[in-house]
Subunit: 247 residues, 2 copies
DNA sequence: CGTCCTATTGAAATTCTTCAACACTCGTGG
DNA sequence: CCACGAGTGTTGAAGAATTTCAATAGGACG
């Protein structure tokens, strides 16, 4: 810890300008890199912006570049032969995106909102990993966290009612998006990064059921909705209770 | 690769006797250790046998030891306040069990069958990890595989019908248990490691629905069942088709 | 202004669960 | 040796939750 902060203070001027204000350098994987490594990586990085709906990665496709998400929300999903779809994860800045040590992706990655990523070639990251155990540790930690999240969501998918599922989704978003307004213990307001059909695919429901449950939560005063996408939660604890005790 | 097999050949006599025939040394995490490290770890390992139903790890409990599963099947599950339960993963030999870098477990681990594990103190593993990047890599790989499995299962939980769920479960077991009889492309026979209530908790269904769907698969000739636990699959491809196309 | 996309709402249909009864196995103890 | 109870699994009928089908509404855009 001491060495890390010292390093940052002393070498701030050594790191690439573009990284200076980058969130991935603090909470993301770049935080595991030395200024030298960061400079090296930076020679190959490319920032890219994608519009909502753009497919970033398709299942079975060979992956040549990894990326850090800088802005926006990415949805990871699986598709069945007959078109049924399940969203298996959401990724927010500054998450690392890509499946290390495997040529092909098991999931489809789509931009759920407009997204900005910082991409770099697979080979460069893998070289950095081989020389820096710290980086693999960071990736390992993220994988374990995603595993915990996936398992938490399995409970939601398998055992919760439609009402509890929708409440759980709203609570998840409320916890992950930087709320635009947040007074401690006060109301929370945020934009839903997903449209109804995506929410349905995330929850294993139909859009109609999602819509009905949102209406129900609205009518019971747990949430307020504006323009279909803006949600206000007057009492976050009440929403949290709705995640387990159907109402 | 060359160095690894050479190491194994030359030093076979150096590794602890107990490890010689251990599956975890090949496919499990111990495969990432040198004979010296294996010897060091072995000073702290303890083999233990648990009966079916024994709780190996409870949620929120401080974990002091990790383990390798040597025999049997372990179920990982989550519990809701009102008793609803969801199995979020199954682990087979020679999987590593435990949540690295975290004091508390997020899940409950129970012996689904009689289970034999090789346990060792958390601290010893973590010391080995810090001196051997190769070991962390192995753990990382297992975490990524479990993540892929969890996501695959999310698709099953969220988007498959009861019939497809049960077929998917049977297919999963058929793929993971060493089948007692297996002729290429011929019939496969295996013992179900879970009782009906566990299967239900794995699939997000009730035991009655599981029972009915098994009956349906039996009557349509996709499987044969003996003694409730022994399953014969005459045509594995037919079972695989039943995982996506309900019948 | 018409069209596409998104979202909501109602009614009917379906799937799954709940409740209830019963069957089988296994071990224990009379 | 048989009766008994606990644990496990199956089956039927009624009920509830969710989906499906269908109609409607609003906003964005050409």
């Amino acid at each position: 810890m001491a060495t890390e902060s010292a390093r940052k203070d002393i070498h701030t001027s050594d790191i690439p300008a573009i990284c200076k204000s980058c969130e991935a350098r603090h909470r993301g994987i770049c935080g595991a890199l030395t200024p030298e490594q960061l400079t090296k990586l930076n020679r190959f990085t490319k920032q890219q912006r994608y519009e909502s709906g753009h497919e970033l990665l398709s299942a079975g496709e060979d992956v040549h570049r990894y990326s850090n998400i800088l802005r926006g929300v990415v949805k990871l999903s699986k598709l069945m032969a007959d078109g049924r779809q399940q969203i298996v994860g959401l990724q927010f800045a500054p998450d690392f995106m890509g499946r290390p040590f495997r040529a092909q992706s098991e999931v489809i990655a789509d931009a759920a909102t407009d997204v900005t990523v910082c991409t770099f070639p697979k080979a460069v990251l893998e070289e950095l990993v081989s020389e820096s155990p710290n980086l693999e540790h960071r990736l390992h930690e993220q994988a374990l966290e995603e595993l915990d999240e996936a398992r938490e969501w399995m409970l939601t998918l398998g055992r919760k009612s439609a009402g509890e599922k929708v409440a759980s989704f709203l609570f998840l978003i409320a916890s992950n998006i930087d709320p635009e307004i947040e007074t401690d213990e006060g109301p929370v307001m945020f934009e839903l990064p997903l449209k109804r059909s995506d929410i349905a695919d995330f929850l294993g429901l139909t859009i109609e059921t999602v819509s009905r449950q949102i209406t129900k939560l609205r009518k019971s005063g747990v949430i307020q909705v504006e323009n279909n996408r803006t949600v206000i939660v007057p009492d976050l604890e009440r929403l949290e209770r709705a995640c387990e005790i159907d109402g």
